[in-house]
Every structure is written in C-alpha cells, then in structure tokens.
Amino acid sequence: MNAGAVMDANGTNERERRMRGRNRALLALLLGLVALFYVITIVRISGG
C-alpha cells in the first residue's frame, strides 16, 4: 500500500517534471521561431 503510494507520488512528480521540461523547451522553440521569422522577413524585404 505504502509502496504503491510512493510510486504514485514519484510518478506524478516525474510527470510534472517532464511536463515542465517539455513546456520550457516548447516556449524556447516558439520564441526562437518568432525571432527567426522576424530576421528572415527583414532580410527578404531588404533584398537579401
């Protein structure tokens, strides 16, 4: 019973930790894409 509770608690913590990691990676990716598209637009409209 206790072992099961510990496993559940660990599982939840691990799930939250991984979800946080994925969310941060996704945020970094989206910000990177915004910056990339901005720079590409500037280069293209300036005739690069």
Binding site: N10, G11, R18, A25, V43
Partner: protein, 301 residues
C-alpha cells in the same frame, strides 16, 4: 499505435526533452548538416548569411525528422538489437504516436520554411530526401533486400544538393559529384558496421548483406566500392570545383580507405571492420573538409 508502452512499471510520465532530442539521431544529423553546409559553400553564387543559416537549419531539422519517423517505424526491430534497444521507443520512454507526430511536424516545418525563406527547389529536394529515407529506405527496402543501404544511401547523399540548390536555385554537375561521393561511400561504411553486427541484424530479420550473402561477399563488394571512390572523389577537381591540392588529398584518403578494405578482406576477426567503420567516418569528414578549405582558400586569393 499510441498504446502506452508495456515495459513501464511506473505510470507513464511522458517523454523527456532529451528523448525528443535522441530520436532526431544527432550524430547522423551532424554529418548530414556538414555535407549540406559544404554543398552550400562550394556552390557558385552568393546567399545572404542569414538565409544560409536558415537553409542549414532546415537541412538539420529535416534530417532529424527523418530519424524520428525512422525510429517510429523501426521500433520493433530496434527492441531486438542491442545497439538500438535503449532508444526512447523500444525502451518505453516514449509513445510511438509522440515520435511520429514530432517527426511529421518537423518535416513539414523544415520544408515549408526552406521554401518560403530560401527557395522552392531546395525545399523540394529536402522533401524528396525525407520521403526517400522514410518511404523508399525505411518502409520499403530496409527489410526486403540486402541492397537496402545501396539504394537507400541516396537519401543520405542528397544534402549537398540541397545546400547547392539553396544558393543556385538548381542542381549543377558539381552538386552531382558531391552526391556521388557520399553515394559510393555509404555501402562500405554501413557494411563495415554490419559485419560485426551481423548477428543482431539476423535476429531482427534485417537482410543486411553479411546476413544474406556472407562476410566474404560483403568484403568483396566493400573493396569494389572503395575502388570506385578513387575516380569519384577526384571528380570535384575534374569539374573545376576544387584545386589540385584537393585532388591529391582525396586520392590519398581513398587509397587509405581501400587499404582498410583490404585489411578487412584478409582479417577474419571483427577488429579490422571496426577500424574501417571508424575510418569511413573520418574519410567523409576529411574529404568534405578538404573541399571546404580549398574553396575558402580560393576565395581568399
């Protein structure tokens, strides 16, 4: 397809960021990016540095997407082979649907960005490369014929063409020469690996040449391919893409590559095959570095 991996004891926690990175096959990606970059540098013409960076990024993401979809499809045989058993899918750290969705999103994104930011010829070549690797190599050939990596090797040989097309908007003979070098390099490179992994491939039911035709025939064909690399590797010089210093370097490297193939031919242990596999990676890296140095040197004069 999207069932929770049965190997997990604890509740499935979702794949970690590192697992998503791992299914992109970063080591394969690095060689693809490098050869694509060299194609971009040696191509005649000029591309804005930002757009060149975007082109290389798209090649990298496209290669990663191919790797992710490959890992999704091959998860059953990956679980059988020791070399691949700890990958995120067979190890149960990632659900198949996550890998497939991730791969498709990256593939579409890389092609669209390449087309919008650079040009659509390069984008079409990138799409062709991904499609060839996934449908022709992974799904069709890999489990059916010992010529899988010969024909499928075309996918790995295309990145210099993509880099070239990013600059010129078309595919010139110089790009074809770079393609040919990687194309003829791929069989001895992979067969060196499969010589000492033949047992694992046989267990997984993958008909690699050593499994189907035996070690002797594999070694003979490896030697033939290294000999074919002699004229192929100096073609960039014949086409005026590189100078005589490159030709001498490429010839010397091809000679050493052939010597490693002869050693494999004479040696019944796996030691020489391991050495040849390691040298094959160095060979391709040095050939393309020589092209790069030659072009940068020519530009500086």
């Amino acid at each position: 397809m999207s069932e929770i991996p049965s190997t997990s004891v604890a509740p499935y926690a979702g794949a970690a960021v590192g697992d998503f990175v791992q299914i992109l096959k970063p080591r394969v990606m690095s060689l693809v990016v490098f050869t694509g970059f060299v194609g971009l540098v040696v191509a005649p013409g000029h591309l804005h540095p930002v757009l060149a960076m975007v082109a290389v990024l798209c090649i990298a993401v496209g290669a990663g997407a191919s790797g992710a979809i490959n890992m999704w499809y091959d998860r059953d045989i990956d679980a059988v082979m020791r070399r691949t058993a700890m990958r995120p899918l067979p190890a149960g750290r990632m659900m198949p649907g996550e890998a497939l969705g991730f791969g498709i999103v990256l593939a579409v994104g890389a092609v669209v960005v390449m087309g919008l930011a650079v040009n659509w010829v390069a984008a079409q070549l990138l799409a062709l490369t991904i499609a060839f690797y996934v449908f022709i190599y992974t799904i069709w050939l890999k489990r059916r014929t010992p010529q899988n990596i010969v024909i499928g090797g075309a996918a790995g040989a295309l990145p210099p063409l993509i880099g070239w097309a990013a600059v010129t908007g078309d595919v010139g003979w110089g790009a074809v020469a770079l393609f040919a070098i990687i194309f003829f390099w791929t069989p001895p490179h992979f067969w060196a690996l499969s010589l000492y992994r033949a047992g694992e491939y046989a267990a997984a039911g993958v008909p690699m040449l050593p499994v189907v035709a035996g070690a002797r025939e594999t070694k003979r064909q490896m030697l033939i391919y290294t000999l074919m690399l002699w004229p192929t590797s100096v073609t960039p010089w014949l086409l005026g893409l590189a100078g005589p210093a490159y030709a001498i370097g490429a010839g010397a490297l091809s000679l050493v590559f052939t010597v490693t193939a002869i050693r494999v031919w004479r040696d019944d242990t796996e030691r020489s095959a391991r050495q040849m596999f390691a040298f094959s990676l160095l060979y391709l890296f040095l050939i393309f570095t020589a092209l790069l140095v030659d072009r940068i040197g020519a530009g500086a004069l």
